[in-house]
Amino acid sequence: MIRFRVAMAAASVLFLAACGGGQAGPSGAPAAGASSGPTSVKVSVIPIVDVAPIYLGVEQGFFEEEGLKLELAPAQGGAAIVPAVVSGQVEFGFSNLTSLVIARSKGLPLKVVAPGAGSTGEQGKDFGGVVVKADSPLKSAADLVGKRVAVNTLGNINDTTVRASIRAAGGDPKNVNFVELAFPDMLAALEAGNVDAVQIVEPFLATALKNGDRVIASNYVDAAPGLTIAGYFTSEQTATAKPDLVKRFTAAMQKSLKYATDNPDAARKVLLTYTKIDSALTGSLTLPTFPAEINTKSLETLIQLALQDGLIQTAPNVNELLP
């Protein structure tokens, strides 16, 4: 038996290694400050509302101003982005902070370089929340105890923050059945009664509200005041090898975030360029905030939540994670 298993796995590795022979090194070869045109930089993002600022920044030329030529590579989730950043396939990536906390606690050398998106902090008026059907008997987060709640990934930011909501409302957060469902499938599952509540974000939240569904908890608001949800990160190698590149990316990113905050309509409009969100919907959806700084306190809260809910065993050092 052992021979079988070992044999297969070994051979698969060799096969893969052979395929990987021609693997390209990280791009963006010219060193920082090189005078020969803009440095090209690859950034892996998830094509959702949260990354509107970076698209706006490219559109507005903020990155060009810093001598960066951005190549945005959309990916399906943080799980695909983190390895790409660590291996140097791409210089920067976008991910929620809990994912980064988990990665860092497992010893992955990651560093956050810029904030990405944050909660609006307004109860019931956030860009994400726990939603139930119009006629549901559930009224508050405390009612979720013993119920089936859909989140898009188990063991990540959404279930820990929903647990925080329940805890805040006085319920037992251990006693919830979380079901993993992709955001696009949630409303259908809610409608069909397959789940009792869904933790959902824009643009699905706007669709749900239009349909009469109710928000019973704003989990990001309940988790921490001024919660920073996601950020842009790089690997420690890149950070040490190309400090100047990182500095310029952060600077351009901050300009982009500010511009998005100041021009929400532009942010709504840019959504149409990289998502397939119905243009009628872009006007009504709630945008996240695009904070200029990472809220360190909220990050510590996220770490606490991750510890409490067993996502990680040891808390990573916040200062190592932050720039």
Partner: protein
């Protein structure tokens, strides 16, 4: 070059696998790469990862869903395939639609299947069925169509009743093709077992691997890949044993045809 002798053959059988494992072991022995942990570490993790409750909590539910889905798919594929293969009009009517559905990768069908089957085990079984049924169905159609004309006439002359005709002529005659389809379906089934567990799952091998990957538990993720490979190998060995029993006549027939030229 002459055919190697039996002794040499037995000697060679494990040679390459051993070589490959040794290479893997040595090249990763002092690996510090986070994503390529030493093989030794992976193997050490294997036991504690899978045999401390996960086997019954994740592997068995996965296998149960696979088994149910696979059997339903085979039954459905053979049943529909026999009908479609027998009726020219029906065949012409549904063939383009079937070809269309077969070409759609199962992962994009999952959201649609969820509309009808919810998010429980039924959905996952349905995902497996929806992917496995095609090779069985299409191969059965081919097999039934390719039934020997003389044999069909023989069955008619001796007035075989519809039931015996089905059992003794149609199904047995098409069985080599059905087996070919069932074999393709098995490997597709394992893939779909994993894919179905990427949606709305709370247990299963596929689910666990994805969770490991997402939480950056890399050695554990590797053990999951090995586990999947193992499942694949064991199921394929079982399948071959069943197949070679059921189709011994076919192997013999082919051999005799070849030697008679």
């Amino acid at each position: 070059m002459r055919d190697p002798g039996r002794g040499l053959r037995i000697l060679l059988l494990p040679a390459l696998p051993v070589l490959l494992v040794a290479t893997w072991w040595l090249t990763t022995a002092d690996s510090t790469n986070f994503f390529w942990p030493p093989l030794e570490q992976i193997l050490r993790t294997f036991g504690e990862t899978w045999f401390t409750g996960r086997f019954t909590a994740d592997v068995l539910p996965s296998l149960a869903r696979l088994l149910v889905g696979y059997l339903v798919a085979v039954a459905l594929g053979v049943g529909l395939g026999t009908e479609i293969g027998s009726w020219r009009t029906l065949r012409a009517l549904v063939e383009p639609v079937l070809e269309f559905f077969r070409a759609i990768p199962a992962p994009v069908l999952v959201p649609i299947l969820m509309l009808f089957a919810g998010i429980g085990n039924e959905m996952k079984v349905l995902v497996i069925v929806s992917g496995c049924v095609w090779p069985v169905l299409l191969n059965t159609v081919e097999g039934v169509r390719a039934l020997d004309e003389v044999l069909r006439d023989t069955a008619r002359c001796y007035r075989l009743r519809p039931r015996s005709r089905l059992v003794h002529l149609v199904l047995r005659g098409a069985s080599p093709q059905i087996a070919a389809g069932a074999r393709q379906a098995l490997s597709i089934g394992i893939i779909l077992m994993v894919i179905s567990e990427m949606f709305a799952a709370s247990n299963g091998v596929g689910f666990t691997i994805i969770q490991f990957q997402r939480s950056f538990a890399i050695p554990q993720m590797w053990t999951g890949i090995i586990m999947l490979g193992l499942i694949g190998v064991v199921l394929s060995v079982i399948f071959r044993a069943v197949e070679s029993r059921a189709l011994s006549w076919y192997t013999g027939l082919r051999m005799s045809q070849r030697t008679k030229g």
